[in-house]
C-alpha cells in the first residue's frame, strides 16, 4: 500500500459515472476549465444506466400542464413541483443534446422518434434507446470535450472548508482510494457534484451491487439534508427463485397475466387494479404489486407466476434489442417466455426510490451545503418519472451551476489535516487481524432488513427492533471491521455506509405514519393526504445522531394536490403474524 498520497485538482469534481454524472460533467465543461469525473468501477460498465432503455421524449407545449400533473400524481403527490415543471420544459432540449452527443434513439421509418407509453403516464412520454450505447456515446463525448475521467477510485468522504463533520462551511473536495492499488487519492476541487446513484444492499438485484449509496452517506456525514429515505423501489424481479434481472417493468406489459398457484388472476380482486397492465392505475405501481404478490404467497396460494406466453414476437424482439441482459439471463437459464410460466418473488434489494429520495437539492441542483451539488438517483426530486430523463435534466443543471460556483472561488489551502485524518481512519481495517469482514456486516444488516415484515409490510414494533440491531452493529461491529486488501477495504467503506443508510431508512419509515407508494405501515394502512403531503428530511445533528425535519411539500406555481384530502385505504392490506 502506498504511503504517500496523490492530489488531483479540478474546478469541478463529479462523483459517479452514469447518466447524471456524464450530463453534469459535459455541462460543467461549458463553463469550467478542469472537470474531473471519478468512477468507482468503469464508465459504461457500472451502475443502472447501461440497463435503461427508457428516456424522456420532448413534451409538446400544449401538453405541459397535463404532464406536470401526471408526474406529480404518480409521485404520490410528493414530487417537487418545480422540478416536475423543469423536467417537462427542459427534457426536449436535453434529448436533442443527447443526439448531438452521439446517442442513437429508436426512430420510425420517417425518422421520427419512436415514442412509447409508460405505465400511468399516458402515451408518447418515453423515447427508447439502448442503455449501453447511450452511456458509451456520452462518455466518448465527455472525453472529447476534455473532461478528465478517473476510474477504479472509490470516493469515500468529502472535504470540508472547516475540517468538520458536519460542516458549517462549504465543500472543498473529496478523498478516495484506488480500488486496485490501494493508493489514497485527494481530490482538491472548488465544487463537487454527487451523482452516485441508488443504494444497493449487495443482494444481487438489478446488477447494482457496486452502487452502494456512498454519495448519500458522505453528504449526510458532511451535514447535508437527505430526504425520502422511507421509500425504496419494490422489486419482484426474482425469477424461479434462482436468478434475478432488471427490467421488471417490462413484465407488466404486452399481455402478461399474473396468476397464483390456482391459476387465479388475483390482482383483479383489488380495487384500482389496471386492466391495461399488471399493476395499479395512476399510482406508483410496484409497491402495490409486490405486496399483492406477497399476500398470495403468505396466504398459501403461491407460487405466483408471470405468464408471458401471449407476448408478441415484436415484444420479444424489442426486449432482445433494448433489454439484452434480461434476455441473456433467461436464455442461459433455459427459460422460454413463450412457453414457460416464470415464478416471481418479491424481495427487497435496493433502497432510495431512484429520483424520489436522496440528497435534497434546490432548483440549481445545489444541496443544503454550499459547493455541494447532487443529481440523478442520488438527489431528491420527490418524483420517479422516467429516471434517466430526470438524471439528464438534473445532472445538466448540477454541472452548470457547480461550474459557475467554482468560477468565483479559490482552492482551499487547509485540506491536508482533514485528508490525513480520513486516510488513517480509512486504512485501519487493514491492521485488524481478528475482526469482522465487510461481508459479515452486510449479512448482519440484511438479516434484519430483508424479511417482508421489515421491508414490504412495516410496523412500529418491528422497525424499532431493526433500529436496535442496526445501532448495535454500528456500535459493536463497525469498529472491528477488517480488510485483507484494497478490494475488501473498499467494501469496508461501503459496509459502513450501508449501516448508516439502513438506520436512516428505518428512522424515516418510523416517522411516516401513513402508507404511500412503496412505504407501507400496518398500523396506518391508508394514505393520509391531509397530514402527510410532507417530506421527511434527515440531517447529521453534530452529536452522532440524526435530526429529523418535516416540511410540507413545496408546491410551486402549479400547486397540484389530490382532489380529496381524505384518508384513502391502501388496496392491498396485510398484517404480518409474529412467529
Amino acid at each position: 500500500m502506498k504511503q504517500d498520497y496523490e492530489v488531483q485538482e479540478s474546478d469541478v469534481l463529479v462523483i459517479g459515472g452514469g447518466m447524471a454524472a456524464l450530463s453534469a460533467a459535459i455541462r460543467a465543461k461549458d463553463f469550467a476549465d478542469k472537470v474531473t469525473l471519478v468512477e468507482k468501477a468503469k464508465v459504461g460498465r457500472s451502475g443502472a444506466s447501461i440497463y435503461c432503455h427508457a428516456y424522456g421524449a420532448p413534451v409538446p407545449d400544449d401538453a405541459f400542464e397535463r404532464r406536470i400533473k401526471e408526474m406529480v400524481r404518480q409521485s404520490g403527490y410528493l414530487g417537487d413541483q418545480s422540478w416536475c415543471e423543469i423536467y417537462v420544459r427542459e427534457i426536449g432540449e436535453r434529448q436533442h443534446d443527447m443526439e448531438k452527443w452521439g446517442v442513437l434513439f429508436e426512430k420510425d421509418e420517417q425518422g421520427n422518434l419512436k415514442r412509447d407509453e409508460i405505465r400511468g403516464m399516458g402515451p408518447k412520454f418515453m423515447a427508447l434507446a439502448f442503455g449501453k450505447q447511450v452511456i458509451e456515446a456520452m462518455a466518448q463525448y465527455a472525453l472529447s470535450t476534455g473532461v478528465k475521467v478517473v476510474e477504479r477510485v472509490a470516493v469515500t468522504d468529502l472535504l470540508t472548508s472547516d475540517g468538520n463533520y458536519p460542516t458549517e462551511g462549504h465543500i472543498v473536495g473529496a478523498v478516495g482510494i484506488n480500488t486496485r492499488t490501494g493508493q489514497f487519492v485527494v481530490f482538491r476541487s472548488k465544487a463537487v457534484v454527487i451523482t452516485t446513484g441508488m443504494i444497493s444492499g449487495k443482494l444481487h438485484r438489478i446488477w447494482m451491487d457496486n452502487v452502494t449509496g456512498d454519495g448519500h452517506a458522505m453528504a449526510f456525514r458532511a451535514g447535508a439534508e437527505i430526504g425520502g429515505m422511507e421509500f425504496s423501489p419494490s422489486m419482484f424481479g426474482v425469477w424461479n427463485r434462482k436468478f434475478t434481472t432488471g427490467g421488471q417493468g417490462q413484465f407488466q406489459y404486452g399481455g402478461t397475466k399474473l396468476v397464483n398457484r390456482l391459476g387465479e388472476e388475483f390482482l383483479y380482486k383489488y380495487e384500482g387494479a389496471s386492466k391495461e397492465f399488471i399493476g395499479f392505475e395512476g399510482r406508483e405501481p410496484w409497491g402495490e404489486l409486490s405486496r399483492a404478490i406477497a399476500v398470495e404467497i403468505l396466504e398459501g396460494r403461491g407460487p405466483v407466476y408471470f405468464d408471458c406466453r401471449a407476448w408478441s414476437q415484436e415484444k420479444i424482439d424489442k426486449m432482445r434489442k433494448l433489454q439484452p441482459f434480461v434476455m441473456m439471463s433467461f436464455d442461459e437459464q433455459g427459460v422460454n417466455m413463450k412457453k414457460d410460466l416464470v415464478e416471481g418473488t418479491p424481495m427487497v434489494g435496493t433502497y432510495d426510490n431512484i429520483c424520489q429520495s436522496g440528497i435534497r437539492v434546490n432548483t440549481l441542483s445545489e444541496s443544503t451545503i454550499r459547493g455541494l451539488y447532487a443529481a440523478g438517483a442520488a438527489a431528491m426530486y420527490g418524483a420517479v418519472t422516467i429516471p434517466q430523463g430526470m438524471c439528464l435534466v438534473g445532472g445538466y443543471r448540477a454541472g452548470g451551476n457547480a461550474a459557475k460556483w467554482a468560477r468565483d472561488i479559490e482552492f482551499a489551502d487547509n485540506f491536508s489535516v482533514q485528508a490525513r485524518r480520513l486516510r488513517e481512519a480509512m486504512f485501519l481495517p487493514l491492521q485488524i487481524k481478528e475482526g469482522i469482514s465487510p461481508d459479515q456486516i452486510y449479512y448482519s444488516v440484511n438479516k434484519v432488513v430483508t424479511p417482508w415484515g421489515a421491508s414490504i409490510f412495516k410496523h412500529e414494533e418491528r422497525i424499532r427492533e431493526v433500529l436496535g440491531e442496526i445501532r448495535r452493529i454500528a456500535r459493536d461491529d463497525l469498529p472491528r471491521i477488517k480488510a485483507r486488501d484494497s478490494h475488501e477495504l473498499v467494501k469496508a467503506t461501503e459496509a459502513r455506509n450501508f449501516v448508516l443508510l439502513m438506520e436512516l431508512h428505518n428512522l424515516a419509515a418510523l416517522e411516516r405514519k401513513e402508507s404511500r407508494m412503496t412505504h407501507y405501515r400496518e398500523e396506518y394502512p391508508y394514505t393520509d393526504d391531509r397530514n402527510w403531503l410532507k417530506w421527511i428530511l434527515l440531517k447529521h445533528d453534530g452529536k452522532g445522531g440524526v435530526q429529523l425535519k418535516i416540511e410540507p411539500v413545496p408546491l410551486g406555481r402549479s400547486a397540484i394536490i389530490p382532489d380529496a384530502l381524505t384518508r384513502k385505504p391502501m388496496p392491498v392490506q396485510y398484517k404480518m403474524r409474529r412467529p
Partner: protein, 78 residues
C-alpha cells in the same frame, strides 16, 4: 453459479498483447477479475459476482461462461 469459468484455452491474455488491458477486468463493476503472473485473468473474488454478463459480452474471444443463477440467501423470508 455466477461467473463460472474463464476458458484458458480460448483466452488470449489481451491485456499483455495489446497493452490496453484485459477487457473483462476492465468491465467488471464489482472488480472480481484480476490478472495472474502470466497476465491471464482469473476470478479473484467469486462471491462478489452478480451475474451481469458484461464480462461474457466484453471478452472478444468468448472465453467467459456466466450463469445467471445466483445465491439468494435472503429470498422470501417471512
Amino acid at each position: 453459479m455466477t461467473i463460472e469459468r474463464i476458458a484458458k484455452d480460448i483466452c488470449e491474455a489481451c491485456g499483455l498483447r495489446t497493452g490496453v488491458g484485459c477487457p473483462i477486468m476492465e468491465s467488471c463493476s464489482v472488480d472480481v477479475i484480476r490478472l495472474d503472473e502470466r497476465g491471464f485473468p482469473y476470478i479473484a473474488y467469486p462471491d462478489d459476482c452478480d451475474s451481469c454478463f458484461l464480462c461474457h459480452l466484453d471478452c472478444p474471444n468468448g472465453a467467459v461462461k456466466v450463469s445467471a443463477e445466483i445465491p439468494l440467501p435472503f429470498l422470501a423470508r417471512y
